[in-house]
Amino acid sequence: MLELVNLHKTFMPGTANEVRALQGVSLTIQPGTFAVLIGSNGSGKSTLLNAVAGSFAPDAGTIRLNGCDLTRLPEHRRAARIGRVFQNPFAGTAAEMSIAENLALAMHRGKHRSLRPALTRNARTQMADRIRELKMDLENRLDNPIGTLSGGQRQALTLLMATWTRPDLLLLDEHTAALDPKSAAKVTALTQSIVQREKLTTLMVTHSMQQAVDMSDRIIMMHRGAIVQDYRDEHKQRIRIPDLMAAFDRLARRELFDESVADLLKSQYA
């Protein structure tokens, strides 16, 4: 269970470029929930994920995962419990290392890294088995540098790596946004099957309303660093794409609601 309590984060405070990226975000995600985060650009979705992953410490607030306080833990210390896939398909793998070496790193995610050989015969068999499931013809290319693969293949491998040892929380930040439509569909399907099979608690950012509606148990909408909508349970089930569009629309309209509108309504809504 992920618990976020009143998270605040301001970038470049006190300057002209000050950005209040998180303004008191509180959120509890039950174990096994697939939560999707949507919101316009710059609404703070990535910042929220980064805060949970530990890329920076929040200015205020608490992050707890399964009851354990992560707030002050550096990113690499959280990795044992949090799997992560980035938007950039090149961000999640080490390009110049082979597929096998990358996977070996993931098999020991967050564990002690000993002075034993990383690529044992046993490990390679395991890798080949798991990779075969991707049906991307990669099982015979274990020793190729991962940089020679396509973005879609790398993203699929990153996903595999993020979930190789079952994480308490899976963070996906628009991980299909930079892919061509076919690869994106493939990675989406893979995401769904892994999350379902492992019953992972997942927090995914997406721009695709379709994905948000189809994949999630819960849709959370962010705006200006705050959660403005939270559709869950039976409310989530009745949500369709037009409802989400309408919600975005209302947000945009709310932006146009200024003091002058308030005055207008005083004379025109009596």
Partner: protein, 313 residues
């Protein structure tokens, strides 16, 4: 023949420096200038210890440790105090200049008649008891000390290369390489890239200092100036090695680097033989590295242009 032998020995010794540079430049991707100071540090520590009558091997080990400390300091300056890579290297290198002078007490220590790590080998190989014994190698008369030096350098180099290869293939070593290749990914896999930078720089500069210690014993002196430009030599060797063996893979990269260093030394020996001024050596090396860094891009652009031309035709 002794020229070739010398170049080989020199190449083997300096290949340790190249391996150190390989770790900092290519593995953890840290532009580490400490090298210029830590090679001298290795030389001076070894020289002083040997002069005091230490076992040469122990002296060499201590030199290596000193180098590792210097590297770790650079790493700490960068990671803990957020000083830029280059600047942290320069700071440590500058500090090392004074430290080296302090260690040696003067700017130069000759080691002409002192023991060295090859002394034992020499004794072992010497059957006649004649200190000026020469061996006949393929028709050439070669002094025994040269052969002993070569053998020792080769053994040390082989051991280091073997251990390094093994190390980089362990869980820890893969983590280290990942930290250099993609720090963000490394963090996501639970690796702290900052620790890895400190450890890598310690390892790299340890190797560099080892190289310095061997160099001092081989050349017969330690000099406070001897480190200048060493980093560029290491870089040049790596580049030649990559040209020789372009395949990726840890073992091959390490072999390539060693071969590259030896080839580089041979080229220098030949150039010197042909009348190149030793004083111009660094200029030539710098120019070579420049060309090696720039040419691939130029070539690629050229290739692209001709390709396009073909398609148009």
């Amino acid at each position: 023949m002794s020229l070739v032998l010398g170049a080989f020995t020199m190449g083997l010794i300096l290949s340790l420096l190249s391996l150190g540079t390989l770790i900092s430049f290519r593995m953890i991707r840290f532009t580490d200038i400490t090298v210029d100071g830590s090679i001298t540090l290795g030389a001076s520590v070894a020289a002083v210890c040997i002069m005091r009558g230490w076992n040469p091997w122990a002296a060499t080990g201590l030199a290596m440790l000193a180098g590792a400390c210097a590297g770790a300091v650079t790493g700490l300056l960068h990671t803990r105090f957020r000083i830029q890579e280059l600047l942290s290297g320069i700071l440590v290198m500058t500090a090392l200049y004074s430290i080296n002078l302090r260690i040696m007490g003067r700017s130069n220590i000759p080691l002409m008649n002192s023991a060295s790590i090859s002394s034992g080998t020499e004794k072992l190989l010497n059957r006649s008891g004649n200190p000026f014994e020469k061996w006949n190698l393929a028709g050439w008369e070669v002094p025994l000390p040269d052969i002993a030096n070569l053998a020792c350098a080769a053994v040390v180099c082989l051991i280091v290369a073997f251990l390094l290869t093994r190390f980089l293939r362990t869980h820890f070593g893969t983590g280290l390489r990942a930290a250099g290749n993609n720090p963000q990914m490394a963090r996501a896999q639970g690796i702290n890239p900052e620790t890895m930078i400190i450890l890598s720089l310690a390892l790299a500069n340890g190797l560099v200092a080892l190289s310095g210690a061997l160099l001092a014993q081989y050349q017969g002196f330690a000099d406070v100036q001897m480190g200048i430009g060493m980093m560029v030599w290491g870089l040049a060797s790596i580049i030649i090695g990559e040209a020789l063996i372009s395949r990726v893979g840890i073992g091959l990269t390490i072999c390539g680097t060693i071969l590259g260093t030896i080839l580089f030394r041979l080229l220098i020996a030949i150039a010197l033989r042909w009348g190149l001024q030793p004083n111009d050596l660094k200029l030539v090396t710098a120019f070579f590295v420049f060309a090696a860094l720039v040419l691939p891009h130029g070539l690629a652009a050229l290739k692209k242009r001709t390709h396009r031309g073909e398609r148009h035709a």
